[in-house]
Symmetry: C2
Subunit: 144 residues, 2 copies
DNA sequence: GTAACAAATTCGCAGGACGAACTACTGCTT
DNA sequence: AAGCAGTAGTTCGTCCTGCGAATTTGTTAC
């Protein structure tokens, strides 16, 4: 079981990284875009969600901002804070990247029967729930 | 299902990285040690197994060698090639790290019933098999 | 024996991650 | 109201990762 979890994680990672690369993103930038899809976040929140130190985030957001994918906006209620949001271009790219990545991940279970896929989904959902994984890759309300 | 796979991969990654860190390793160095546990490899084989470019590997092995964890030995049959093997210290550390990491990964399904755990293991094994994942984290013949 | 190929390394570059130190602001407490 | 503890983010320095292109050395096939 351990080996299965580790190796499938490895696999998913590779797929994710490949997909990101084809959209001109790194894995981390892709992750950032996906997290920001539903709504903007503050830097600290982002750090908690992505499991990164504050200082690591500054750089990641800097680079993504430089590439015109995200934008820092002042927080209206706290002048120290900042809200990081997708730009229009960032939103478009996030959407495309997200869709394509989902497609590829789905392909990993191409040979599965529908009920197997469902069983796997249910078990993984429990793992995720039991361990309070932050929403790094939201359930979309938007199959397309 | 996609979200489950991605998020559990994220989770496993975080656990892996944490565990590595506590042993003074990076995730990649930990991965390298685990791959080398059963036997030595050549650089190219390692690259294929870990999904890294040759040039990335040189550095990783350099750093691990500098830390006294692995060792380059000449390949008896091909004087261009090199066999990368664990040092004694590397083997000991690999063993400890591997054991502890397994323990932590297992804990992720702490609340599972035995048959659920088995079901998950079987499904993940299929994902791994269907997609030809290299042996980055071998089934141990050695539960201890 | 030479031409094609293969195994590694080197180099330069950019991204990623961290901790420690710092700035600027908030919000308490008294 | 003044002062102070705590919080949000950034900066800095350091090391690790990862890649491609170019290079060196050795192998093998012809």
């Amino acid at each position: 079981m351990v080996a299965g979890l580790v190796r499938s994680a490895f696999l998913v990672d590779a797929v994710y990284a490949d997909s990101a690369r084809e959209y001109g993103l790194t894995q981390q930038q892709g992750q950032l875009l996906c997290v920001l899809m539903p709504q903007p976040y503050g830097m600290s929140e982002l750090g908690a969600t992505l499991g990164l130190a504050k200082s690591s985030l500054t750089g990641l957001v800097d680079r993504s901002e430089r590439n015109g994918l995200v934008q820092r906006k002042p927080d209206p209620h706290d002048s120290r804070a900042v809200r990081v949001a997708l730009t229009r271009r960032g939103a478009k790219l996030a959407d495309e990247f997200y869709t394509e990545t989902c497609r590829r991940i789905e392909e990993l279970t191409a040979e599965f029967a529908p009920e197997e896929r469902a069983a796997l989904a249910a078990l993984l959902a429990r793992v995720v729930a039991d361990n309070k994984v932050p929403s790094v890759f939201m359930e979309p309300d938007l199959p397309r």
